[in-house]
């Protein structure tokens, strides 16, 4: 499962590689990065050789092959690579100090410890700044326990000459006896152990070791897990790792030996803990913290540290199942190279714990290359090292069996010992003639020369590794012909050569048949059935795909056009012929245009189905869409501004004329009511009309019809009321005048 995930993340970058068609150099860097990629790249080189010839369409096939390969990788047999130089270069990149120092004392410790395990020479400036940080932390009386612990770890790694050990020891010494939580116990005890190792004269031994041991043990659960404190009922696997390490510390700090029975109880706790171990399909084991707050990598790392620390501190042996130890190692290796500093540290530190433990040292059997080319006469090479790539004890490797994956057939190799090559520390086997191209599962076994090594190391029984044996497939009798349907006699026949460009041109009508045939055989002369053997006929309006069947070595497809006219939508004309033959183990996979056939088909009857619209290239679907250019109406021609302004003035002239005319006629306001109430109504009436007219202006400028109508109804009612009052007043006064 993990492999599948890690593979998925790589697929995208690989795809970019294909696009670039980068040179082998760039690929080799990738090969070092991950062994899955290594396999893929070898497949890729094969495909890319053809890809170059085929151009962009070839990429599609390469991708297809990659996906097929991805599927086949995620099987139970897996090739785990030990920690190598790529880990070292990744470590330098991940643990990069900013301005000569790391962010915190914890990070400093992780970096220094990782560098030490991987044998990387830390830059001298790290030591100076780290040691100043250590003495700062140790000197401050308010430093938290956790920081003190990491400071002491750094100082023990870098051998800083800090003088505050005794003061720190006296501060820490009282903590274990009174501590309530597992965290306090763990950090204080581990810190005391560190002081003990660095400064022998400091007084760190615990008088009440037995009591502290009991206090820690009291937090354990019946299933081997631990609680963080007595008032927290939730138990955790991560806490179990911490507790075991703390117990190991108590044993080494005790003034008198802890009772053997107590230690045996803890040992049985460890065995119970290992009962709860989880397993992946590829044979890797890990611990999972059920609480969900800690990742399984951190949990597994914590348990491994705790168990190995306890095993080295406690007397007697700890009998843990060998396959689980190896499974844990493989779990850490299966992660590959983590990008996160914490995960990287957990991985490397746990592997180092396993390798240096007294339990048993896991041995990793790995194949530098899982793709073996028969054409290049590659040999099967196997490397056996520890997880951190240290050399193994003298041993020999045996192929127990090798069979084609997916079939439970007879094994092609049985019990064959590999020859040890001293120079490269490799075990080498010349592939016997019984091995042909294909995907194999090899089963290896390690045999120690010295039987004592069997007790120290854990080789893990039989190791299954998938191996791809690739080769050049021989293509013979490659020909295309047009047959007369009724008698079956050959009308035209053309020989083809798959290595060079073919450009045959054929003519056929609906009463004839087209036959394409070839023979495939493996380098050992056996029949070979490729994963893909596809013939494609491509008309400008439609394309058709035919699978090519085989009987033994002979591949043949016969297209009887009489039966196919409907499928071809009665489309006469030129059909391009393309042939694809490809497989992951076939080094000369190809995708080739053979030429074309000019088909003469009968006219379509009225009800014949129409050819579907050409489907869009699926790669284009996710590409950039064509740009939409909007067509705007060109703006109408406007008159010059001056002319419009001149006419504006002109339209005002009649109004002026109107006013002048009024004056000439001798207009007066004598009729305006003089009494105060009617005068007020008169003024209000004019104000009302003015308000309505300004409302119209507002309506034109910004308002919408509804607001305007609402306001208008109010203003209109008002104007009507006052208008009625004033006009009836005027009417009555004028009628009075008349009657008078």
């Amino acid at each position: 499962m993990l492999q599948c995930l890690s593979f998925a993340s790589k697929l995208y970058s690989l795809w970019k590689l294909i696009d670039l068609k980068s040179a082998a150099g760039a690929l080799v860097v990738y090969v070092n990065a991950d062994f899955f990629v290594q396999f893929l790249v070898s497949g890729l080189e094969v495909s890319m050789a053809t890809g170059r010839r085929l151009g962009s369409r070839g990429d599609a096939i390469v991708l297809l092959l990659l996906i097929v390969a991805a599927g086949s990788i995620c099987t139970s047999a897996t090739n785990f690579q030990p920690v190598s130089d790529s880990h070292r270069s990744a470590a330098v990149e991940i643990f990069t100090p900013v301005d000569g120092s790391f962010e915190s004392i914890e990070e400093t410790y992780e970096a220094v410890q990782t560098f030490k395990i991987l044998g990387i020479e830390a830059k001298p400036d790290v030591r100076v700044t780290a040691c100043t940080l250590v003495s700062e932390v140790l000197g401050a009386s308010s430093s938290p326990l956790k920081e003190l612990f990491y400071a002491l770890k750094v100082s023990s790694l870098l051998k800083c000459d800090a003088s505050q050990f005794e003061a720190t020891a006296s501060r820490l010494k009282s903590i274990p006896s009174n501590a309530k939580s597992l965290n306090d116990l763990y950090y204080s005890i581990a810190a005391l152990v560190l002081i003990k190792n660095q400064s022998p004269e400091a007084d760190v031994l615990l008088d009440d070791a037995d009591g502290v041991f009991q206090a820690i043990k009291a937090l354990s659960q019946s299933d081997g897990r631990w609680r963080y404190s007595s008032d927290n009922p939730a138990s955790s696997t991560y806490a179990a790792g911490m507790a075991l390490e703390a117990l190991a510390g108590v044993i080494s700090l005790a003034t008198k030996d802890i009772g053997k029975s107590r230690i045996n109880v803890v040992k049985s706790d460890i065995l119970k803990l290992f009962d709860s171990i989880e397993k992946y399909d590829d044979g890797t084991f890990y611990f999972d913290d059920k609480s969900g707050t800690v990742s399984s990598l951190a949990t597994t790392s914590s348990v491994v540290q705790g168990v190995t620390a306890f095993a080295s501190a406690a007397s007697g042996t700890l009998n843990l199942p060998e396959d689980k130890i190896l499974g844990l190692t493989k779990y850490f290796l299966s992660i590959g190279i983590p990008g996160d500093a914490k995960e990287f540290f957990n991985q490397v530190n746990s592997l180092s714990c396993l390798e240096n433990s007294r339990v048993s040292i896991p041995l990793i059997l790995a194949l530098p290359a899982t793709v073996i080319s028969l054409t290049k006469k590659d040999k099967l090479k196997v490397k056996v090292t520890t997880a951190l790539s240290s050399r193994s004890p003298p041993l020999s490797v045996k192929v127990v069996s090798a069979s084609i994956s997916g079939s439970k057939d007879v094994s092609v190799i049985e019990n064959q010992e590999l020859v040890f090559d001293e120079e490269g520390a490799l075990h080498v086997l010349d592939l016997p003639a019984s091995i042909d191209v294909g995907k194999y599962i090899f089963v290896f076994e390690i045999v120690f020369h010295n039987s004592k090594d069997g007790k120290i190391y854990a080789p893990g029984g039989q190791t299954k590794v998938p191996v791809h044996v690739s080769g050049t497939i021989k293509i013979e009798k490659f020909e295309i012909s047009v047959l007369d349907s009724d008698v079956g006699s050959i009308d035209t026949q053309k020989q083809l050569n798959f290595e060079t460009e073919n450009d045959v041109s054929l003519d056929a009508n609906h009463l004839q048949k087209l036959r394409l045939s070839f023979q495939l055989s493996t380098p050992q002369g056996n029949a070979f059935k490729p994963h893909q053997a596809i013939l494609k006929l491509k008309h400008e309006k439609a394309e058709h795909i035919f699978m090519i069947g085989n009987s033994g070595k002979h591949f043949q497809v016969i297209l009887d056009f009489l039966g196919l006219v409907e499928k071809f939508f009665y489309l006469s004309g030129r059909y391009d012929i393309q042939l694809t033959v490809g497989d992951t183990v076939m080094e000369n996979s190809f995708y080739q245009a053979i030429g074309h056939v000019e088909l003469d088909l009968p006219e379509a009857p009225e009800k014949a189905p129409r050819p579907p619209l050409q489907s869009v290239d699926p790669f284009l679907r996710y590409g950039a869409k064509g740009e939409i250019s909007h067509i705007f109406r060109s703006p109408e021609k406007r008159p010059p501004e001056n002319l419009s302004l001149a006419f504006l003035v002109l339209t005002l002239l009649p109004f002026l004329g109107f006013l002048v005319g009024l004056l000439k006629l001798g207009l007066n306001l004598k009729n305006f009511p003089s009494a105060s109430v009617p005068a007020m109504f008169a003024i209000l009436f004019h104000v009302g009309i003015g308000a309505i007219l300004s409302l119209y202006a507002l309506f034109w400028l910004k308002m919408d019809l509804f607001t305007t109508l609402k306001t208008l109804s109010l203003l209109g009612a008002f104007a009507m009321f006052v208008g009625h009052r004033i006009l009836s007043h005027v009417a009555s006064s004028s009628s009075k005048l008349k009657s008078a």
Partner: protein
């Protein structure tokens, strides 16, 4: 012949002016208003003839506003004229109120159409 025609036209104008001088003042005001509205409409038509009818709705509303108000003014004049026996019973104030109301409705529509 030509000269006498000219004189006739002059004489016609003179008689027209003298006859018009007898028109009541309020009717003269209305006439002036009608002349003002019609000439404004004419200026707009000339403008349209010169630069084209692009914002056609604006042009239409401008011209129709003038023509409409002129027509309403003519209606007012008919109703207010005392010589006109048909509307003898109708007080001029009532006619004026109608004129105001119709103008307001006309201009509401015009403003809506102006754009």
């Amino acid at each position: 012949m030509v000269r006498s025609t000219g004189d006739d036209v002059l004489a016609l104008f003179h008689s027209l002016r003298s006859a018009y001088a007898a028109t009541p003042k309020n009717l003269k005001i209305i006439d002036l208003y009608v002349a003002f509205a019609v000439s404004t409409a004419l200026i707009q038509v000339v403008y349209m003839a010169m630069v084209g009818s692009f914002p056609f709705n604006s042009f239409l509303s401008g011209v129709l506003s003038c023509v409409g108000t002129a027509v309403l003014a003519v209606c007012l004049r008919i109703q207010v004229n005392k010589e006109n026996k048909e509307f003898k019973d109708l007080p001029p104030e009532r006619a004026y109120a109608d004129f105001i109301l119709c103008n307001l409705v006309l201009h509401l529509v015009i403003m809506n159409f102006l754009g």
